[in-house]
Amino acid sequence: MEKEFTLTVTELLANATKTLETHGYRRVNLDITENWQTSNVRLFEDDYGIVAVVVYDTWGDLSSNWADAQASLVELVSKYTTRYDPKSWEGYLVLLTPSPVARQDGLKLTEIRYDISRVRKLVATGDDIKALDDVRQVLLPLLPLQVETINEVGESVLNMLPKLLSNRGLPTKAVETVINAFLEQKPIVENLHKYRMENEDKVD
């Protein structure tokens, strides 16, 4: 049987920390070990919410202790926000473990995930986390949208054409010549002809 790659608790915690800090979260350096009963916890805050990332060694630990973690987070949020502060509702609990979910506990995982009674929970286990980037996938609901706008309608679409048409055996430069002439409103075929004459060996 193929041995599955699993990340360690440290790797998960480090990766989650790095991901959140990279996307605008400020790490909260509080001595929280006592309250949280685990050292594998990190706290973060941004303009909208307070995030606790807790990494458990096993699924069993997670399923047994997540409620404590939630209580700790609620307590912490309550400590720093007032009752009427909207941010008091903005707690997020990220529960991670490198170990897979026990076969019989699939429903329990769903229940944790769908329990939004106090804070929203993001849960991921060894079944979901196979690589470092999977941590980022888990944290996506917390991250600003990284939008790669696909185009300025028009010209940038045309810029895709040389590469696309080169796959069909058309000379890239020839296609670029056509597009440039089109954009500059110059005679298209004349420009292509001129280019072809000057680069006969490359085109024909």
């Binding site: 400020r26 909260v28 509080l30 706290l43 805050e45 303009d47 909208y48 307070i50 912490l76 926000t81 909207p86 941010k87 509702w89 903005e90 995982l109 995930r113 769908y114 939004i116 929203r120 993001l122 079944d127 996506l140 609901p141 917390l142 991250l143 600003p144 949208l145 990284q146 939008v147 790669e148 706008t149 696909i150 185009n151 300025e152 309608v153 028009g154 010209e155 679409v157 045309l158 895709m160 054409l161 696309l164 048409l165 796959n167 069909r168 055996g169 058309l170 020839a174 296609v175 056509v178 597009i179 089109f182 005679p187 298209i188 075929v189 004349e190 292509l192 002809h193 072809r196 024909d204």
Partner: protein, 712 residues
């Protein structure tokens, strides 16, 4: 371009004028169903496009309670450079009016629609139906309509999905390039045909020149001629023969053949003129010779003879008249005598019938016999008188005979006289003609000139000149021929050179044509490539959109196992097709019919994900906004939270409009979308509705300027 405000009057649920301040990063619209939330969103769509496809009939947008009977919506947008653009659209139940106020410049129809397209969605100008294109772009990527949240995934066909995505990602530009290239290729083909024609003409010219050269070659062979020596002599001779004074050209000049041709024509004219004069002279000479033997009678003698005959006739007439007068008198007398005799004869005949023994008158006896004899004599006398010719009459008869002879003699004399006169007249006329001809012949006669000799000399002179001219013409023709041959030699050289030039032209044109065909073939290949490129462009763009879709879908995370989503595109029979596929990666189970797998809530989450993926991926949206009309229906709590958390991130990229009919969700939205730092959030609450329109409570939440709570 973001929306700053909207004004509505007579539009859908807004019977009366309403103004909304929308100048915020997030606008939350809360209100129970039927209070105008959707009308507000539709107002933005209608102002920009003039259409709300979901509603159908155009007049359905007109409020039933509109006092003016008109609908009017005006939205003001703010460009990134803070310029303000106001789009005002009105509808009177039949016609729409669009009016733009672009940073102070007022633009009305028909330019307004085009200007609007240019400003917010230039892609519309590349499509057959720009309004439809703009409407589709907005409803696919800007305005997620309440009733059509899942339309893209569920109701649209794979072809419709692909086409709407094509427009969103700017494939129209590729189509425009393709059309421009096809037009350019057509023009290029026409131009190539022109080059082909030029080539054919050049080849044809080359063949003609080679043919000319062959002909010239076949007519050559004689040694090169030198006309210089005889040229001057011929011209002198021609001038002597009377051609007009000509500037003698050089025999090698190009005008020499034409000049010699002209001179030969002149010589021909002179020759004909000379021959005509010679003919005239010959005819005249012949006539003169004929008339030499002709005797012209003396008209005077004939006149005298006539006069004499006339005189004699007059005399006889006179005498006859006198004789007739005398004869008449004699006849009168004879008549009277005859009447007397007749009376006596009648009496005698009566007396004879009544002759008795005695006189009936006097009763005396008488000699009856002698009386009878006398009476019978009287009756016989009368008969004799009738036949007796009178002497006067006889004389008249004699004179009449004489007069008849005289008349004949006079008539004969007259005839002769007239003949002589005619001859004289004809002679005079001929002499006039002769003199005229002589003048024509330029012959001046001196007294006692021998006309015959003069004319004979003239005929000989003219005949000689005619001969001289003919000889000169023949020489001229020989010289012309010599010139032509000399010209052909020169022409051959010229043609040789011309052939080389035309051969160069033909070679250049053939090469040019070949190159043009190669370019044309390349253009055709590029056009073929562009036909398929639309699909590949969309496919490529979908790759980018798909990544964001996955991000958004994961952010909401609606399904515990189907957590992967992607676009599936295909190219079939020249048309692009697009489906949405969800996948359980852990089990490698997938479906391109999400509605068969996902719950209604999960489908809504997926639909919102797809909508936002397009909204956020396409940079050049008609407006930089995301408008979601009550997207939170049928969502369970976790999906609801997921979407609202997502919307909070969306507001960082787009001006966000979101509505909900549920006040609890409204509060959640208000909390989640609260403004931080310099953000602005406007909450519009529709608290009621009557015939004048909705009751509106607009509020603005103070931004949280120091949002961090835990000390650093």
């Amino acid at each position: 371009m973001k929306i700053k405000s909207i004004e509505l009057t007579g539009f859908r649920g807004f019977a009366q004028y309403q103004f909304f301040d929308l100048d915020a990063d997030a606008v939350i619209v809360v209100g129970a169903n039927g209070r105008g939330k959707t009308s507000l969103f539709d107002g933005i769509l209608w102002a920009l496009t003039g259409k709300i496809p979901r509603i159908g009939k155009e007049d359905a947008i007109l409020s039933k309670y509109s006092e003016s009977g008109e609908a009017h919506v005006s939205i003001t947008m703010r460009a990134p450079n803070n310029e303000l653009y106001t789009v005002s659209r009105s509808f009177d139940g039949e016609n729409q009016q669009l009016r733009l106020d672009f940073n102070g410049e007022v633009i009305n129809e028909p330019v307004a629609t085009i200007k609007l397209f240019q400003t917010i969605w230039p892609e519309a100008l590349l499509t057959k139906n720009g309004t439809l294109s703009l409407t589709t772009a907005i409803t696919r990527s800007v305005y997620l309509q309440q009733d059509l949240v899942r339309q893209f995934i569920e109701a649209d066909t794979d072809k419709e999905r692909f086409e709407s995505v094509s427009e969103l990602v700017g494939v129209g530009r590729v189509n425009e390039l393709q059309l421009a290239l096809e037009r350019a290729r057509n023009a290029w083909s026409r131009s190539t045909t022109s080059v082909q024609n030029n080539l054919e003409q050049a080849r044809s010219r080359l063949y003609r020149l080679q043919d000319q050269l062959n002909k010239l070659a076949s007519s050559m062979g004689e040694s090169e001629v030198n006309v210089g020596l005889i040229w001057a002599e011929w011209w002198r001779g021609s001038l002597d023969l009377g051609i007009g004074a000509e500037q003698v050209p050089s025999p090698s000049s190009s005008e020499a053949p034409f000049k010699i041709n002209e001179v030969i024509k002149q010589l021909e004219a002179i020759r004909r003129s000379t021959e005509r004069r010679r003919d005239i002279a010959e005819d005249l000479l012949s006539e003169i010779k004929d008339r030499l033997s002709m005797v012209i009678p003396d008209e005077k003698a004939f006149q005298e003879a006539f006069d004499k005959a006339d005189k004699e006739l007059s005399a006889v007439r006179q005498e006859l008249a006198e004789a007739e007068s005398q004869a008449a008198e004699e006849r009168q007398r004879q008549v009277e005598l005859r009447e007397s005799h007749e009376e006596l004869r009648t009496i005698a005949e009566l007396a004879l019938r009544h002759l008795g023994p005695e006189c009936p008158v006097c009763g005396q006896e008488y000699d009856r016999d002698s009386t009878r004899q006398r009476l019978e004599k009287l009756t016989g006398t009368a008969a004799e008188d009738k036949t007796k010719q009178l002497p006067g009459h006889q004389r008249v008869m004699a004179l009449a005979s004489v007069m008849k002879d005289c008349e004949k003699a006079r008539s004969d004399a007259d005839v002769e006289l007239q003949k002589v006169k005619d001859i004289a007249k004809e002679n005079r006329r001929w002499l006039e003609t002769r003199d005229r001809r002589l003048r024509e012949l330029e012959v001046e006669l001196e007294p006692n000139t021998n006309i015959t000799k003069v004319l004979s000399d003239l005929v000989q002179s003219l005949a000689k000149k005619t001969t001289d001219i003919s000889l000169q013409q023949e020489k001229g023709e020989e010289i012309a021929l010599m010139l032509a041959r000399a010209s052909e030699i020169a022409r051959r050289v010229e043609i040789d050179n011309e052939i080389k030039t035309v051969e160069d032209d033909v070679n250049n044109l053939e090469k040019k044509l070949k190159e043009r065909h190669l370019t044309s073939n390349l253009v055709t290949r590029i056009i073929d490539g562009l036909r398929d490129a639309s699909y590949f462009v969309v496919d490529e763009q979908l790759g980018h959109i798909g990544a964001l879709l996955q991000w958004i879908y994961s952010t909401i995370d609606p399904h515990p196992s189907f957590r992967t989503v992607r676009f599936l595109s295909d190219f079939y029979r020249g048309r692009g097709l697009l489906d949405t596929e969800i996948k359980d990666s852990s089990r490698n189970i997938f479906s391109n019919s999400p509605q068969a797998i996902l719950s209604s809530s999960q489908m809504n989450a997926l639909a919102v994900s797809v909508f936002l993926a397009f909204n956020l991926s396409v940079k050049s949206l008609p407006i930089q906004a995301a408008m979601l009309d009550d997207p939170l229906q049928s969502l369970d709590d976790v999906n609801l939270l997921g979407i609202i958390d997502l919307l909070r991130r969306v507001r960082e990229k787009r001006q966000l409009f979101v509505s909900t009919h549920d006040s609890r969700f409204g509060q959640l939205l208000e909390r989640k979308l609260r403004p931080v730092r310099d953000q602005r959030t406007v909450i519009i609450e529709f608290t009621g509705w009557d015939q004048e329109g909705p009751s509106v409570d607009t509020k603005e939440r103070e931004p949280d300027r120091e949002p961090m709570r835990i000390p650093a």
